[in-house]
């Protein structure tokens, strides 16, 4: 058994895959590359491949972590080369290294995620942007003690959840040449997280300019973090 952790980028060419689409993409690429992916035991075996945190549809990613298990010995370099040549343009393998089998699952360590939302560079969108207005709206939003988000998920379980505590940091990024951008550092992971899309909608509402919502932004996930505030996955020593 080999455990390999990897980092990948997702670019605009494949921005619109859901989490499950992306997992399926990896599994099919592994099969094309004839890499011996391990399957769980049991009645309904599933492939032992996991992305650290589901990447929402439409969100681009830089150095997004994932991990998988092989039934045989597979060297990280070989994995990177073989899988890399069977991935489509739009998903790019950046790094891969072997990991100890007994470390906890990546997914269980995710505590926070850093997003960067850039305004799309279209004239009709750029004209909606008023930095002062957005800046004031953002500080108003952050001063609130309660931001209620509809609870998603299981059927018959409706209600609202206060997501304000999930916003660790949110600020407008000064950028003279590039497009207007907002950085969001949000709680994430199995113990609960905040959707960046939801906050952008809230922000649009707060500015009173609803046309600044959702699809106007290009969202990047720039990193996943652990509870100690360190990056979830960094390269081991010597790499």
């Amino acid at each position: 058994m080999t455990r390999i952790k990897f980092l990948f980028d997702r670019t605009e060419r494949l921005a619109f895959l859901s989490h499950l689409d992306l997992v399926r993409l990896f599994i099919r690429a592994l099969r094309r590359a004839h890499l011996p992916l391990a399957y769980s035991q049991g009645f309904n075996p599933h492939p032992r491949l996991a992305l650290a945190l589901p990447l929402p549809l439409g969100v681009l990613a830089e150095n997004e972590p994932g991990e998988l298990y092989f039934v045989e010995q597979v060297k990280a370099e070989e994995f990177k080369k073989e899988l890399g040549s069977h991935l489509p343009e739009g998903v790019c393998l950046k790094q891969a290294f072997t990991a100890a089998l007994d470390e906890p699952a990546l997914a269980s360590q995710v505590e926070a995620a850093l997003y960067r939302a850039e305004l799309r560079e279209l004239p009709e969108i750029a004209s909606q942007w008023n930095e002062q207005q957005v800046s004031r709206a953002l500080s108003r939003m952050l001063k609130k003690e309660e931001i209620l988000a509809p609870r998603r998920g299981k059927k018959n379980k409706t209600g609202y959840k206060n997501v304000r505590p999930g916003i660790i940091r949110a600020e407008i990024v000064k950028n003279n040449s590039g497009p207007a951008a907002v950085e969001l550092y949000l709680k994430a992971g199995s113990r609960g997280g905040v959707s960046p899309f939801f906050l952008l909608e809230q922000l649009a509402n707060e500015t009173g300019n609803v046309s600044l919502s959702g699809e106007c932004w290009r969202l990047y996930r720039q990193g996943l973090y652990r509870s100690d505030g360190k990056l979830l996955m960094t390269l081991p020593e010597g790499m």
Partner: protein, 595 residues
Amino acid sequence: MITNSEKLQYILAGVQKPARYQGNEWNAVHKNHSLVRIKMAFAFPDLYEVGMSNQGLKILYEAVNCHDDLLLERVFAPDLDMESKLREYGHPLFALESGASLADFDAVGFSLQYELSYTNVLNMLDLAGIPLYSSERRETDPLVIGGGPCVFNPEPLAPFFDLFILGEAEDALPLVLHELANLKDKGADRSEILKALALLDGVYIPAHYKPYYSEEGRFQGLEYLGPPGREVVVKQKMDSLDLAPYPTTPVVSYIQTVHDRAVVELFRGCARGCRFCQAGYIFRPVRRRSPEKIIDLAEKLITSTGYDEISLSSLSSSDYPHLDSLLEKLNQTMKKNPVRCSLPSLRLDSYSIDLADRLHGGRRGSLTFAPEAATERLRAVIKKNIDENDIYTALDSAVEAGWQGFKLYFMIGLPTETDKDVESILTLCRAIRERYKAKVKGSFRLSVSVSTFVPKANTPFQYEPQITVAEIKRRQQILINGFRKIKGIDFSWHDAETSYLEAVFARGDRRLAPLLEKAFRLGCRFDGWSDHFDFNKWEQAFTETGIDGSEHAGRKFTPEDYLPWAHLDCGIDREIFIREHYLAHTECDDGGSAR
């Protein structure tokens, strides 16, 4: 890439399932537009998930793109939300590979699989700014081509198309495109191009035929105006499947499609000859692929796609000789990269059950069968040659093998059908439930789906009228009332108006074109989808165009009548249809007094 334009990303970020319009799938073919002689877009008038499951698309994608000087890209019908965004932003409908507007192609070829996708055809042309009518197209507009089973009666669509290809197009389409390239090089204009293409086998140019109607409004045949000697268009077919091009590197979708698996076609055609079944006639003769070729293709497909499931497809898979040994060999070959095999279209017999048994390792869900009719008499009329004993023997062995339930398909409205035949669906299903509910471990699931017979061109039942909508509803009510009293059966039925419209367009002639345009203008889209189908709009379209649909759906043809599709030769002697039609009625005990 044009598809990556900021504007398109913005549009896609605001629609449902944007991956449908994203392209860039594994094995998608990207060619430089300036380096090919002819650019064609393959347009599928239904959603991406449906179109990407179509085997014809995969075959033609390979058959055209294997030529360096030709290019075939894909486009599917946009869902309603995408359509309104495209219209709102004035963004033309585009092909997935290059993002280029359909209007920038030399040809746009529609796959015509189902009559209720016709409004989508018009919508797709409109979204690309291509004039709907062939007669209105300019020299710069693409040639609009139609192919697929509906071309066996394409008459309601005739004025919208420049040409149709009748039959199997894997050889014919590249020939047409190469000839088009030569003609364009010579500077031929549109009408010269059509005259020249009319000389190719299987090519039907609707503008070369002028229809006549009697004063009572009956279709009286067509006058041929094209180049001499091509009055009758003959269906194209591949002689050998082993030599036919086959897509071993099909495009692999990221989102789940209707059939999300590798497909190897075992054979084409069907020898059974059920009298209602158009596929059983138009895909004749039966041509088998050799086991060696099948295994070779399966291996290549799995390697190139990464699928973990392979479907061995055909119209009646258990008719493939020595299928068991083929499956054995396939398993041997695939040991390193295990795949699941599936067999669609199983017959109702124990051999088929035995095969299905071997294919399913673990969990046993439901098995699907189509007895089509519930009485022996009616099954004889439609030539579905199974008796009740066959049904029970097959179901017995399925239950023994551990299957937990069945899905059964029936049809109502078949020629000579009486209320007794309809009621027998209830009797048969009740008996099946009684027989197995105790034998099955856990709960026995029985679902019954009842569709309405639609007479199709080039079948023995092409002469038969469809029963009226009111009569469809009356017979459905017998079933609805009956199944309400039988516990534990999940009963579903097809919408009567949908089947009616299908019959209108399956049997109609060119006078229906204005109706189609009107329905499209009134907003009809995705008429085959019950959540989109709006019969009120269709009724309005009938009223405003003054067309009586029942004249087409409910018309009984005699062998002496002119059939709207008589100039399209499906390769079967007309006498065979007449004889089979006659035989169907002699199977009927009561001499057809029921009608």
